[in-house]
Point group: D2
Chain length 262, copies 4
């Protein structure tokens, strides 16, 4: 039977293995699959459900902490999250599939594990969610910053659209089709105007989490811990910190450039 095993073992040679190009930042992006239906079935608030966003953030933070020396930045919105691995990361020898599938499975498992903390007993999780995941390499600082800008700009565009769309329905009494029609081809100036004049909403006063997404970075924090002797001692620790800053701006990156230097 050990002979039998060796006889079959040749099938391992059919496996392939791809590595991420060294010396590039790697973005690992997770995306909920069929979350439109998922959000309907779990009666998510529209245009944004803060319970869902905070659950996503909680899962992101868990993943962030799981690989403290590897992930240097994360940005999420709606049902997606992007994690940036530092340029020099050697996580699992940069094996692409290993990174993608471990991140996807850990995030999805965390999503289920922590669901009830955010949705409570009145909204049970009806079925297991799926997240697809892809790792992409970015060779230059310009490229990785542009990736982050792309996601934050996308967050803004989608949120402005959704805010208008749901105001037209919830406050304006329009059907979904009519709301879609009313917004077709409008520029962002017109959308801001519509929100203000028709619904009294000043877009810029809306929640930064909705407008800019959620960002995790490591921050040095001074903590008071208790030594073995029982004495309080001060320690500086790196903790995952949730922010909602404008990370498209050059100023932010000048102040936080250390993130890209790791």
């Amino acid at each position: 039977s050990q002979m039998a095993n060796s006889k079959f073992e040749y099938v391992k040679n059919f496996e392939t293995q791809e590595k991420l190009l060294p010396n590039c930042w790697t973005v690992v992006r997770l995306d909920g699959r069929a979350f439109h239906r998922f959000s309907d079935e779990h009666r998510f608030a529209k245009p944004n459900d803060d319970r869902a966003l905070m659950l996503m953030n909680h899962c992101a933070e868990a993943l962030f902490k799981e690989f403290p020396g590897e992930i240097v930045f994360a940005i999420g919105m709606s049902d997606e999250y992007s994690f940036v691995l530092k340029r020099t990361s050697n996580l699992w020898s940069r094996r692409k599939t290993k990174i993608e599938t471990c991140f996807a499975s850990f995030f999805a498992a965390s999503f289920v594990l922590h669901w009830s903390k955010f949705f409570g007993p009145e909204t049970p999780l009806l079925y297991a969610p799926m997240f697809d995941c892809r790792a992409t390499c970015y060779p230059s600082e310009r490229n990785i910053r542009d990736y982050i800008s792309w996601r934050q700009a996308d967050c803004h565009i989608n949120n402005l659209y959704n805010t208008c769309f749901w105001a037209l329905i919830q406050q304006g009494g329009l059907s979904a089709a009519a709301a879609e029609e009313a917004l077709r081809g409008t520029l962002s100036g017109a959308k801001n105007e519509m929100l203000f004049t028709r619904f009294g909403i000043n877009y810029n006063n809306l929640s930064p989490m909705h407008r800019r997404g959620s960002i995790y970075i490591w921050r040095q924090v001074e903590m008071t811990e208790t030594a073995k002797s029982g004495e309080p001692i001060k320690r500086v620790r790196k903790v995952p910190t949730l922010i909602h800053d404008d990370v498209i701006s050059d100023v932010w990156w000048t102040q936080n450039h250390a993130i890209l230097e790791e």
Copy 2:
């Protein structure tokens, strides 16, 4: 700002996309990461924990049902499970990463969702598990059958070893190191003999699930359903069926050849 978005959108060109070779059977294999530690921390029974195995089977069945026209066979043991996609499958246009990450995330999410059904309130899940996952193509019937045989032969070899190892410890009072030493280099005949003469265990009478792993296939089952009129009607339905057969044998495949013909 929509202009800003287009300006950044070029970063999408850095993404890669790999497709599985057409007309091959695809095996998608999931493996628990660091499950040695995981099984210790959740006090799994040794050498086999039936709660854990049944949870794995439950998750496999859920995935099986999620893609009824695509997955034709599954085999699992310990903390791993392999799913066979039919040769002609066009799931997600055969995008390799999409399949790997959706399967991994759904399986891990199911594992958490169903944990308490099998482990009860006395053994809470302590943290989110990770599963790595890889899709591999097999071009011929011989190759895909050899893959399945490889996993089943491996199950047998590991189970025989573990059964001896834990008998030496649990019944024989040996330390882990001494048990390992006692087994070093022994052939399977000697292991069977040891189990029988020293511990009164007839290996072939042990649970088929432990010796051969768990297998899912589709079986036609006649069901009595209720028509709209209230009349009972008989329907033939395809249902996921759990078996523990010897799937290395030619006889089994002669009888179940339709599995490879889909």
Copy 3:
């Protein structure tokens, strides 16, 4: 300086290596780059230049002989040639790029080396040609036969078109644009008819090499060789044999099935 070398050697880790899936037939297809211009500048006869086709065949035969245990079939037409590696080939451990670049460079080098044998002193080679090359795996007998049929069907379609096109120009006195216009949307029946009624050409009587392309297979040939003693001895040897058969037909493959069994 040997230290200096080690310091730089890390750059080798940026190299990637892809292997062809085992147990598949591999087609390595070469295509002349910008051969439209090349054929004009070297004043190729139209619609077919036999010197060029025979040179292509000569290069194919050289490559065929260079890897006698690996290449089992080849088919070429115009400025392209496809080589089929046997299913079990382990040439260069199935390294995809190695196979593609060695085949491409050897074929191109042979093309230059043998040019004057076919074009003579009156048509010197004006510059070095380029050939792109790609290796593709085919998992089943059906697939590899369909690949071959695809190329032969393509040869026929192109040759029928080109024969009409150049007859309209050379015999009919039309301009290229007028010939193209006259042929737009015509089915093959109409093209055959036009050749026969307008130009007295029976398409089926044209050269098989032009209609079906050139095919190389290995054939056993009895040869009389001279032993060391000076005695003549008969030996059976495998030699590359050029044919122009219909290799779409099932009958041909029934008779030559051994090609796919190697």
Copy 4:
């Protein structure tokens, strides 16, 4: 028959296509296959054959000129040549296989085409050479410079060894085995010393082409051309320029930094 063609055309879906990561420098390295045997059969001078090196340079220059907007640097030695594509190159949409096979076939074809210019009628080319070729991405300036340094350091190490090895044989009368034995484990200091004291060779006075390899870069050159009017006019043109500089040094790159800025 056009229907027949469509029926087979599905085989194109088995082809794969890989692209080079954007915004990286790409090195395309060519290596002669089995050139040890090739150099023996064509009676190359040892340790260096200037006819062969100049032929390699001539082919590299031809390839350099063929893609004037894409290749920015090349370095070669012995039977290998590396070409650096600029970071922003979009040659053939960065298709990896296309680039590798076109470069390999063009270089090999040039090698045959120009052979007799360098080897004359007394040394005919006996058979077609093969070159393997691989494209590799380098994301940073440090990485691409280190790649170049790696090749130049390798050139030096090999040349120093070969110079000693052949001096021991040609001047010292040793067998190949004895020469190899004499050199085993020696550091470069000892090799320099041996050359000087035993054979009167000052290594640093040897040909820069042998010690540092051959490098092509583009240089602006002022040329006097003839206008249509017959008048001589001065034009600045970019011409491929062969140098044998130390390209490991920082100074060289400070002076020639524009190469990496394209």
